[in-house]
Symmetry: C2
Subunit: 237 residues, 2 copies
């Protein structure tokens, strides 16, 4: 007789991740797990993404509604912010009029499914089509903990260098989308986009790659259009 062995913390996490997934499926909500190093630009990227997706009319709400009714326009999104400490990020999101909930991990370097579960249960998910989870700034452990997400997105900042995939292989191979941010800094660094792409494609041939600058706005349209398609038309598991 086979005995099933639960491998401690990872299996326990996976069970709750599946519970999150069921909860999201029931609501028909799409969840994106955003991961990156500290300072790669996660919060700015979320804000630019929220601005971008606000321009897509919502098919489920009808297009004949009054133009002043902002709830009738765009993808309705909410944000879960994960940080060691503080609530500066969720305050920035909330200032945009977007529902945001802050998780403080109290020292832990990644989010776990249980924390996201608690957040989901505290949120008003009525009509929410997209939930963006900003993970703790770290290229290591967040890649190991499933949250029940549809999509794993990672950001690499140009300033971090093009050699990072070799040093943090799990994150680069697990992500469905790689956002290369701060491309406006390329002329001031030794960053080689060709070398990065070559390395990443070897590790993760199906990765979607977007080159953007949250500072100048370059490349963000392509990303938000792609995301809209995923949120509205399909899911990746």
């Amino acid at each position: 007789m086979d005995i099933e062995v639960l491998e401690g913390v990872f299996d326990a996490n996976e069970i709750i991740a599946k519970e999150n997934r069921a909860l999201l499926d029931e609501r028909n909500a799409f969840m994106m797990n955003l991961m990156a190093s500290p300072g790669a630009g996660k919060t700015s990227f979320i804000m630019k993404t929220l601005e971008g997706i606000a321009s897509f009319p919502s098919p489920s709400r009808g297009e004949g509604q009054d133009e002043g009714d902002t709830s009738a326009k765009g993808i309705k999104a909410a944000v879960i912010e994960g940080d060691i400490a503080g609530k500066v990020d969720s305050e920035r999101i909330a200032a945009m009029g977007i529902q945001a909930i802050q998780i403080n991990t109290g020292g832990s370097c990644h989010l776990e499914a249980k924390q996201v579960n608690t957040a989901l249960k505290h949120m008003d998910l009525e009509g929410i089509e997209l939930i963006i989870v900003e993970n703790v700034g770290n290229l290591v452990c967040p890649a190991e903990f499933k949250l029940g997400e549809d999509l794993k997105v990672m950001i690499l900042s140009v300033a971090e260098g093009d050699d990072k995939p070799l040093k943090y292989p799990l994150m680069f191979s697990e992500s469905h989308v790689l956002i290369v941010n701060k491309i406006d800094l390329i002329p001031h660094t030794d960053f080689d986009m060709g070398r990065l792409e070559e390395t990443v494609r070897k590790m993760n041939p199906s990765v979607e790659l977007f080159k953007v600058s949250c500072r100048t706005g370059e490349g963000l349209d392509g990303w938000t259009t792609w995301l809209e398609g995923r949120v509205r038309n399909g899911r990746q598991s």
Copy 2:
């Protein structure tokens, strides 16, 4: 009767950190634990530091020695490289003619004292005055694990932004030295050095702060001169 409770992994780590410290004291070697986010420039900074300290004549070896004898010049250093995977960093250091040993943590997001202990026992410490430990790229967990070091040094890259102390408070408050790297990028970012300094000084009034660019070389002399003083004249615990 008081019962002493060891708090699991941290206390176990601390015991081995003390063992490392005793081993270093016996050798009169100074150990620096270098921590930063991925891509903040740790390895480049180590290489620039090694170049800089090579110019300080060693008092213990006499100044009358032959100029061609490079062992007679500078602080003799060795490097312990910590990475999830790969050995690209230790190869870069070894190519400089410096003794380097690579630790692969195999997924773990920080170095522990035990790994450094193993490395120290495998190294040739004869005449070594300075050991630089490059921790895994991460602003969270490395701050929690003592290695037996004399000095905790962290690097913040300008591209990461001036708000990082609030989000990773333990790292910024535990570090003895804060290196702000990539200052050549300041004109191309929204980085506010005054704001950074104000935030950091509130959390860590005694921190030594150096502003450098490993790309242009700016500010590195001040750092290597300071480090030479610490290695040759005193230790911080």
